[in-house]
């Protein structure tokens, strides 16, 4: 599988939290290479199933992205926008965006030129109130094409290759981890499985995990592993808030079943994959947090792909680490068999 090509296709499909239909369609296209057992549930979660017998492992990565929404159309046709689930308004001035009206409309978020600023202005952070989204269209055209509530995303453009198999682009959170699932399916297609694996592209992770709740309920897995992105070091970050770019992050803490953690760790070590423990005492801010208490409790694990500049249009990841995440999750599935219940017994 050409993972860069898959990332390009998935990150150029819009899927702001609550509106994931377009990206789901693209994800299903990739799932089809590995199985015919594909479905979409009532909230939009998109599933692919492989394996016929044994315990059910749910692997989940979310399809939705942070974005914006049109809140007002000014008299001159300029749009006012607000964040949906976590875009920092300070990354927007001078950015190109796509307005998802009756058709896709290219636009820019305006920034006041330095010539017109008062001294000290450049030190004040922009807030959403300061910003306008400019389509260059007349007010009449805008009113015919755009309505309040329409989504606005970072410009839908494919990622770019930096040096050393590092890539930069929009929405690697969490489409890069959907790509991890595809890579894992690619590895597992030649393996005989003693478990069932349900891969799920979930919805609405960024707005609190509706997709994970519904998905866990629908699949009723014996165990689940969420795949998400975590922070890689950037200037100003503190130690232990981040995991190095070349390592697979494996989370431990109250959200994580210790035996699922052990399974993930064993898989990484068997394959000599560099990994690091990420510690979270409570909430992990991922689908694993929503999945854990469902149906009387689901043993959960969490694998993360380190990423720089989260929730900007230039999120940066390593494709090598992406592939390593896939190897780790594939190893977990390959090792899973009839003895799964013993393996999950908690040590008292």
């Amino acid at each position: 599988m050409d993972v860069f090509e898959a990332l390009s296709a998935m990150t150029t499909a819009p899927g702001v939290t609550g509106n994931e239909a377009r990206v789901s369609e693209v994800v299903r296209g990739y799932f089809r290479a590995y199985t015919d057992d594909i479905s979409v549930d009532a909230v939009g979660n998109t599933y692919a199933r492989i394996g016929e017998t044994g315990p059910t492992l749910l692997v989940m990565a979310h399809m939705d992205e942070v974005g914006m929404m049109v809140t007002c159309i000014e008299d001159n046709g300029m749009l006012r926008v607000r964040s949906v689930a976590g875009v920092d308004p300070r990354v927007l001035p001078g950015s190109e965006v796509t307005v998802h009206g009756k058709r896709e409309i290219r636009a820019v978020i305006g920034a006041k030129p330095p010539h017109l600023q008062d001294s000290g202005d450049e030190k004040k952070a922009y807030t959403a109130d300061d910003l306008v989204c400019d389509t260059g269209l007349s007010a009449d055209e805008v009113n015919a094409l755009v309505g309040v509530g329409d989504n606005v995303t970072f410009r839908l453009e494919p990622p770019m290759k930096l040096k050393n198999s590092i890539v930069a682009g929009k929405t690697f959170d969490d489409r890069a981890c959907v790509a991890v699932m595809l890579e894992a399916m690619d590895i597992l297609k030649s393996r005989r499985l003693n478990c069932r694996v349900v891969f799920c592209g979930s919805v609405q992770e960024e707005s609190g995990g509706l997709g994970a709740s519904a998905g866990g309920y629908n699949v009723k897995p014996d165990l689940a592993v969420a795949i998400d992105v975590c922070h890689a070091p950037t200037p100003g970050t503190k130690p232990f808030d981040t995991v190095e770019m070349d390592r697979v992050s494996v989370t431990t803490g109250a959200n994580i079943h210790p035996k699922v953690f052990d399974m993930i760790k064993a898989s990484a070590e068997e394959q000599n994959i560099p990994w690091e423990t990420d510690v979270a005492i409570g909430a992990t801010g991922t689908d694993a947090w929503s999945l854990q208490p469902l149906l009387g409790g689901i043993p959960c694990g969490l694998i993360s792909l380190p990423l720089r500049y989260m929730h900007t249009s230039v999120e940066v990841i390593s494709l090598d680490t992406l592939r390593n995440c896939a190897k780790v999750i594939a190893g977990v599935a390959a090792n899973l068999g009839a003895d799964w219940e013993e393996k999950l017994c908690l040590d008292d």
Partner: protein, 339 residues
């Protein structure tokens, strides 16, 4: 002209490193059969010798951008910027150096910021260019201190009349000047594509001695601030309302006769125009009018929204009308009137 503008705005040419813009323009001038020379600073000068007054028409080739200062141990590039609000560079794609090494400018994730940080804008010395290098030594294989850093925004048509691009300030001027050079005028014409305008009109300061004009005309992309919350007197210019005639900018007070002559020309030719209603922001005119024993300078500007940011907008009809106004002015030979 629009095709030229597309190619011109897509070229990387940060102040002090205008070579690739110059190369493109030289190629265009060669195709037009026009002789040209490049001076010591990099200004590209075309002299169409003729009778009558010495007339200088100029537009600047450079665009705002950044320069690599050094590389951190972790492989990130520290930079210095000129003419750029640090708030517009975050979350953008860039190209570094003559090899166009791809890079991005990120910022600490919103999740890892405390409330105080959230209210504060980051400064240039807190931001870095990320090219995916493993460490300092790895980065230095691809880039070096002194490499220019440029936004990579591509020219596109948005609405019927609107184009989006980086560097509309002042590649619109370059495109118009190139178009004017297709025509013959009854004057001694000195067309100058200047360098380093954004660093303090440095190119024009030099070129004006070579051209030694009686009359000069500066073609610029200027600010359009026709925003929803702005009051009418704060607009500077309005996009789509015709080329703007300058009465004053940061470095020039237009000579009343020149100001009048440009308006008169527009009226006679039936070209819509507006005033550049702002006194801030300089143009090459500021350097030219102080040179020699004081040259008469006029400014024709295209109002562009969001200049000095990675993505600015301009109106196609404004660009065309700016060309027509400059053309009409050169044709009507009001040179003696304005002196």
């Amino acid at each position: 002209m629009l095709g030229r503008l597309e190619q011109l705005t897509n070229i990387y040419g940060v102040s002090g490193d205008e070579g690739r813009v110059r190369k493109y323009l030289k190629g265009a001038l060669d195709d037009m059969g026009l002789a040209h020379k490049t001076d010591a600073m990099g200004n590209l000068i075309v002299h169409k010798a003729g009778k009558g007054r010495r007339v200088m028409v100029c537009a600047h080739m450079d665009e705002v951008g950044m320069i690599v200062r050094g590389v951190l141990e972790n492989g990130l590039l520290a930079y210095e910027a000129a003419g750029l609000d640090p708030r517009v560079v975050i979350s953008k794609r860039v190209a570094v150096g003559r090899d166009d090494v791809p890079g991005v400018i990120g910022a600490k994730a919103i999740h890892l910021q405390n409330r105080e940080e959230f209210k504060r804008a980051l400064a240039h010395d807190e931001l870095y260019v990320d090219i995916g290098a493993k460490d300092r030594a790895d980065a230095l294989k691809y880039v070096k201190p002194g490499d220019r850093i440029c936004f990579t925004t591509k020219f596109e048509r948005l609405g019927e009349d609107i184009v989006k691009a980086k560097a509309l300030d002042d590649r619109v001027g370059c495109a118009i000047l190139l178009e004017l050079l297709k025509n013959d005028y009854e004057c001694d014409l000195w067309a100058v594509f200047t360098v380093q305008e954004e660093l303090g009109l440095r190119g024009a300061k030099a070129a004006v001695w070579t051209a030694a004009p009686d009359v000069a005309l500066v073609l610029e992309g200027t600010t359009a601030n026709d925003m929803p919350k702005a009051k009418e007197h704060e607009y500077v210019t309005r996009m789509g309302h015709g080329p703007a005639v300058t009465f004053m900018d940061g470095g020039t007070v237009a000579r009343p006769r020149m100001f009048k002559a440009l308006q008169q020309t527009a009226k006679e030719a039936g070209i819509p125009y507006q005033f550049r209603q702002g006194s801030r922001g300089g143009t090459d005119g500021g350097a030219i009018n102080k040179a020699l024993d004081g040259c008469v300078v006029g400014g024709i500007s295209v109002g562009c929204r969001y200049i000095h940011s990675p993505a600015s907008l301009a109106s196609v009809s404004d660009i065309q009308n700016a060309y027509l106004l400059a053309h009409a002015f050169l044709q009507t030979k009001k040179f003696d009137e304005v002196l």
